[in-house]
């Protein structure tokens, strides 16, 4: 029997969270704690749900909803030794009823919580259907939420969401999930370099804002790096406003990102100006080169759980521009003197980029500060919070009590 079981839904993808979990597991193993992983296939539509047939055509009417419910049932069916500490991870594993759960939580089922209204506004689901689904998910979560031993939130932003929606008091577990600081790149800082946005083109990453900011900033250059389903939309938007910076500045949120990303809906022709490069997915070495050239990193996402983009930019010694509604991104930038927080509008981002380009000394100071912050973060024993929670849960000591060592 393992000391600790990580409960991880298998969504059939490998992303940032999977890397973070691997790092947590390795850190626990280094401390002599035996760790295993319990998983379940989370991405398949079952034929039946709650004892009733689940027609595939019904599933397609709201896949997020029925997928969530199916996974609640899968979590229910798990039987894990009560003597083991279970670290739950993604939704809905936090609903596991077990006496020794450490709920490592980076987000709830977001489209049913903080993104619910934006989801409807973007046309991803009919309003009445999504509101009913949202109400049901929230009821299910509230009524089934077990007496979890310890809640660990991946950021203060997530801790606030847990407190607001579930009255849960969570400790913040801010993991070093980024690459180690890269002094060589940090020392090659050029305040005249292009602005850089590194992100998948996906809702609600809002890379459209970075592209339109590049259109507005007629004296600068902008590079967008990353693949994703909305890339054609970003390119269409940049082309439509390529010769019209004033139009880019005035574009509505509905046109920019509160939509389903259909490039045909953008309208107008136009071409993307040379000063804005939408480069798509790049190999890691090319991404590092993009950071090397960049004067500033633009991270325009809406209500992020954490802020890996900020941590990565800091690790390369680059200042960051985030939006006021950026959630965890804002949390990492505020108070560091290594970035700027602006309104989520193309012109506001363009003005911030230009302000750094026009004041190279200030830009250099922020870049140096960014690298210092990254170095300080790297030096923390970030895993200690998780180790402590696991030890308390294992010893049956209430969260916040004293563990005999």
């Amino acid at each position: 029997m393992s000391d600790v079981v990580f409960l991880k839904p298998d969504f059939g993808v490998q992303g940032g969270f999977e890397l973070l979990m691997d790092r947590c597991r390795a850190a626990l193993v280094e401390r002599g704690i035996e760790v295993s992983v319990e998983t379940f296939r989370a991405h398949e539509a079952p034929d039946h749900l709650a004892g009733l047939p689940l027609p595939r055509s019904l599933w397609f009417r709201h896949p997020e909803y029925f997928s969530y419910l199916a996974n609640v049932e899968r979590v229910d069916a798990l039987r894990i030794d009560p003597g083991t500490v279970v670290v739950t991870t993604q939704p809905p594993t936090y609903l596991l009823d077990h006496p020794r759960v450490v709920a490592l939580t980076y987000h709830q089922a977001r489209v049913f919580y903080e993104l619910s209204e934006a989801y409807i506004a973007s046309g991803y689901s009919p309003s009445a259907l999504h509101r009913e689904a949202t109400a049901q998910v929230r009821l299910i979560d509230r009524l089934r939420l077990p007496a979890t031993h310890t809640w660990l939130a991946g950021s203060a932003e997530v801790a606030r969401r847990l407190a607001a929606t579930w009255d849960v008091a969570a400790d913040v577990f801010q993991a070093n999930a980024q690459e180690p600081p890269d002094r060589e790149v940090a020392e090659q800082y050029d305040p005249a370099g292009p602005a850089l946005c590194v992100s998948r083109h996906a809702w609600p990453k809002r890379t459209e804002l970075a592209a339109l900011a590049g259109i507005c900033d007629t004296a600068g250059r902008t590079e967008l790096v990353g693949g994703g389903g909305r890339q054609p939309y970003v390119e269409a938007l940049a082309a439509r406003f390529g010769g019209d910076p004033a139009g880019a500045a005035a574009a509505t949120d509905e046109l920019i990102w509160l939509n389903r990303g259909d490039p045909a809906a953008v309208g107008g022709g136009g071409t993307v100006p040379d000063r804005v490069r939408v480069r798509g997915h790049l190999d890691r070495a090319d991404v590092v080169d993009a950071f090397r050239r960049a004067s500033v990193v633009v991270a325009p996402a809406h209500r992020e759980d954490y802020g890996l983009t900020v941590l990565e930019a800091f690790a390369f010694g680059r200042p960051v521009i985030v939006c006021r509604d950026g959630g965890g991104l804002v949390e990492l930038v505020e108070g560091t003197d290594a970035g700027l927080v602006v309104e989520p509008r193309p012109q506001a981002i363009a003005d911030a980029v230009a302000s750094l380009r026009d004041d190279p000394e200030r830009a250099r100071a922020m870049a140096e500060r960014a690298f210092t912050v990254a170095t300080e973060l790297e030096a923390r024993d970030d895993i200690a919070v998780l180790v402590d929670a696991v030890e308390r849960a294992g010893a049956g000591v209430p969260a916040g009590g004293t563990v005999a060592r």
Partner: protein, 81 residues
């Protein structure tokens, strides 16, 4: 697929997962679910509206969506070459 039945089914499945009763837990809705499931077994499901979503939304998509997205990509590549 009638919108009212879809909404009722969303509510019914939610109530069952909570272990609660529901006004929609009726023989009529059960019959409708069985009828839809049988119809789906005879042909491809209606994926309209879901395809665009699968391409563009951040996060982890259920497998049917990813399969649909992959199929679309394959078809586009085939058409473009």
């Amino acid at each position: 697929m009638e919108p009212d039945s879809v909404l009722q089914a969303v509510s019914l499945f939610g109530a069952r997962l909570r272990g609660h009763g529901s006004d929609f837990d009726t023989p009529a809705l059960h019959a409708w679910l069985a009828e839809q499931a049988a119809a789906d077994a005879g042909g491809p499901p209606d994926e309209a509206g879901w395809r665009a979503r699968a391409r563009t939304v951040d996060g982890r998509l259920p497998e049917p969506a990813r399969r649909a997205a992959r199929g679309i990509v394959r078809r586009l590549r085939g058409a473009g070459s």
